[in-house]
């Protein structure tokens, strides 16, 4: 048995691979050999650590030393100092603020300290392409317990008692869904894992599949036993090649070890899983559309009922759950419903993964207990608003969600509280906005997305979202009439009420919540033709003030030559030629360029 002294864990998630982690790994291995450490230090590649923004990330164990933005040229120094001499390298550590000391250990970094990892517990500590590592960290013990000691009814009872609810958006109780499907008449049944993840900017499910694919597989085998099915599908977006690759490796290893396929663990239970790759349309994430797509047909939604638990794939009873939902299952079976339900609030149990992005200091993927406040997520984990700007709001739940404000910072993050405030838990997108974000423009952005993704099957969604978008266009361009606001509200309510599927039913949410909390901002656009955040290009202009030293930098950088002036003299923007690209504002060394309202 070979004993290593140190493990160097290098992140090979999509984010870190994009920032060059594979080159760093190669260099690391070379340098380790050069220093004669190959029998002492083991290099392990892991899945996403959630802090991709700081990638490539390297963690050295034992000691939990966290290195960020590691490049090839840092490696010789890192290997000699830390791996050979045992002196952690400060220059590569996380620094919380300009005057603050570097933080050596991962769990002392605010971003990680306030998280609670249950679904993502294996992220970044094991090699997702090696089933034995997963087994070493208690993997497949839940399955063993479910198959050896529990009846299907007992498994379902455990999931019901745990309080687990769907993580794909709607929060339907998972145990109940399984029970409905189990009780549906019919010999042939199916289970499906929804890994479509169409929300722009979201990557929770991708990360789970990349970092811990066996958790999803194990969850599905347990579910299959409980529901009484022998065939499952995992639907993954085409845009997730690494997730698909890791998943396929996991499936073939599980089969090889007798944890999938025929006679699982010698108990006589058969279950196999197939990977289905998705076309990438947002609507394909909706369950009825997704099932059509798995059948090889065009992914379009149909009215429910009948629900998939009655008539799903090829008309057979089908349970469809989100990636994160499935990944929660093994730990619930292994550690018990009581353990799981001790985390979270009365009606929302366990943890939720969010992809935290926007105008905050630390962006990334975070897992938090239900019941945490938005304030803790934004300020303790996210490190607060970047720069010296003011917090303005949080957009939750992607295009189907809503925007909450300062006054909601202390509400509990759980299904009921978020819905009550007009947002949704959704699948876990969280975009933090600051004073430079225009709420009308943000609402327009999301509506534009859903409008383009509307499959066109039903009129309220197809036409309604288009009309709404036209009104928003008028508002941001300063062409709106007084009664447009009323029209927008009425339309939004109608689209919400009469659309066929969840896409249309939720598409108005960003508009409705911004109308509810930021009506003033709409009014400024309509009545005063003014964009207070200076985002809507038709409603403000850039001017050069007398701070200008005549350095010519803006004029040289302006893409449309809209700036005139002599060296050493004040410059001027020719408004007709200006495209409002904002370059001059950015490059001016003396902040002489300002955005002001149109007269």
């Amino acid at each position: 048995m070979k004993e290593y002294r140190l493990h160097a864990l290098i992140c090979a998630g999509t984010g870190c691979v994009a920032s060059g982690s594979l080159d760093v790994k190669e260099e690391l291995e070379k340098e380790i050999v050069k220093q004669g450490l190959e029998n002492e230090v083991r290099v392990v590649t892991t899945g996403c650590q959630g802090f991709c923004e700081r990638g490539p990330i390297v963690i050295v164990q034992p000691g939990d030393i966290f290195y960020q933005s590691v490049s090839k040229k840092d490696i010789p120094h890192l290997v000699e100092e830390h791996l050979l001499k045992g002196r952690p390298v400060k220059e590569l550590m996380y620094v919380p603020g300009p005057e603050e000391a570097p933080v050596p250990t991962m769990m002392d970094i605010g971003f990680f300290k306030h998280q609670r990892l249950t679904v993502l517990k294996n992220r970044g500590r094991l090699d997702p392409e090696n089933i034995e590592e997963y087994i070493g960290f208690d993997g497949y013990r839940g399955l063993e317990k479910a198959l050896a000691e529990m009846t299907p009814e007992e498994i379902i009872r455990e999931i019901k008692d745990s309080g687990l609810r769907g993580r794909g958006g709607a929060g339907f109780p998972t145990g109940l869904k399984w029970e409905l499907c189990r009780k549906s008449p019919g010999e042939i049944k199916y289970i499906v894992c929804n890994g479509d993840e169409g929300d722009p900017g979201a990557f929770m499910d991708r990360s789970v599949l990349e970092a811990d694919p066996h958790a999803v597989v194990e969850g599905m085998v347990i579910g299959a036993k409980a529901i009484g099915t022998h065939k499952g599908f995992i639907y993954v977006r085409n845009e997730y090649p690494l997730a698909v690759k890791r998943l396929k490796i996991a499936l073939s290893q599980a089969e090889e070890y007798g944890l999938l396929g025929k006679d699982i663990l010698g108990t006589g239970f058969d279950f196999s899983i197939e990977v289905a790759q998705g076309a990438g349309a947002f609507v394909c994430g909706e369950e009825t559309a997704l099932l059509k797509s798995v059948e090889g047909k065009v992914g379009r939604p149909r009215p429910r009922p009948p629900y998939p638990t009655e008539k799903g794939l090829w008309g057979k009873p089908t349970t469809i759950n989100n990636v994160e939902t499935w990944a929660n299952v093994p730990a619930i079976i292994l550690r018990g419903a009581e353990w799981f339900s001790s985390i979270g609030t009365e009606k929302s149990k366990g943890t939720k993964i969010f992809s935290l992005v926007g105008k905050i200091k630390n962006t990334g993927l975070v897992e938090v207990p239900m019941g945490i406040t938005l304030r803790e997520i934004v300020f303790d984990i996210g490190g607060g608003i970047a720069g010296d700007k003011k917090f303005k709001g949080v957009q939750l739940g992607g295009p189907s969600g809503g925007i909450l404000t300062e006054e909601h910072l202390d509400i509990s993050v759980d299904y009921e509280s978020l819905t009550g405030a007009g947002a949704i838990m959704g699948s876990g997108g969280m975009v933090v906005l600051n004073e430079n974000d225009c709420m009308v423009d943000t609402a327009r952005y999301f509506l534009n997305f859903t409008q383009e993704e509307s499959c066109g099957k039903c009129t309220p969604c197809r036409i309604g979202t288009k009309r709404m978008l036209e009104i928003l266009d008028r508002i941001v361009e300063g062409r709106a009439e007084e009664d447009d606001l009323e029209k927008l509200k009425t339309l939004a309510e109608k689209v919400k009420k009469y659309s066929l599927c969840g896409l249309g039913q939720t598409a108005p949410n960003p508009v409705l919540t911004t109308l509810r909390y930021f009506e003033d901002e709409y009014k400024s656009h309509i009545e005063e033709k003014r964009c207070p955040a200076k985002v809507c290009k038709h409603l403000f202009k850039y001017v050069i003030t007398d701070k200008c030293t005549g350095c010519t930098l803006c004029a040289r950088n302006c893409p449309t030559d809209a700036i005139e002036g002599e060296v050493g003299h004040m410059h001027k923007i020719i408004q007709e030629d200006c495209t409002k690209c904002g370059t001059c504002l950015e490059v001016c060394p003396v902040n002489a360029v300002e955005a002001v309202d149109n007269e």
């Binding site: 004993e3 045992g86 070493g136 070890y257 663990l265 010698g266």
Partner: protein
């Protein structure tokens, strides 16, 4: 790979646990070999290698072997510090391969400090988590 049966997972788990124990935070003892410039010159690498071999041979999955920089006592190198859960750290000086093996067997496995090689007990405070 023979297909697993109920109960077989335990064996893989044991084996895998050993290779990943560094990441499981469940160490009982930690040995730190000081690897400053003078430590390396005095032969600390050899001590480290001998120690790792021995730990591997004996399958001690709850013992962590690490390195650290200069301990500030260059004349007594090679040096190592042994920390056992809940006990003050012990520093050993003027080490050889034989001495470190004896320390492993006596102190780390059986819990008896090897007084004749020890420099000081409790000279620094770093507790194991």
């Amino acid at each position: 790979m023979k297909k697993l049966k109920i109960g077989d997972l335990e064996k893989i788990r044991d084996k895998a646990r050993r290779t990943s124990s560094l990441r499981q935070n469940k160490a009982r003892a930690r040995v730190t070999v000081h690897m400053g410039t003078c430590g390396i010159a005095a032969g600390a690498r050899k001590i480290l290698t001998a120690l790792l071999e021995e730990v591997g041979k004996k399958n001690l999955d709850d013992v962590i072997v690490t390195t650290s920089g200069c301990a500030g006592l260059c004349s007594r190198e090679p040096m190592a510090t042994v920390e056992i859960e809940d006990k003050p750290p012990v520093k050993y000086v003027d080490l050889t391969k034989e001495k470190i093996k004896k320390i492993l067997n006596e102190h780390i496995i059986k819990g008896n400090i090897v007084k004749e090689y020890a420099l000081a007990i409790g000279s620094e405070r770093t507790t194991l988590k």
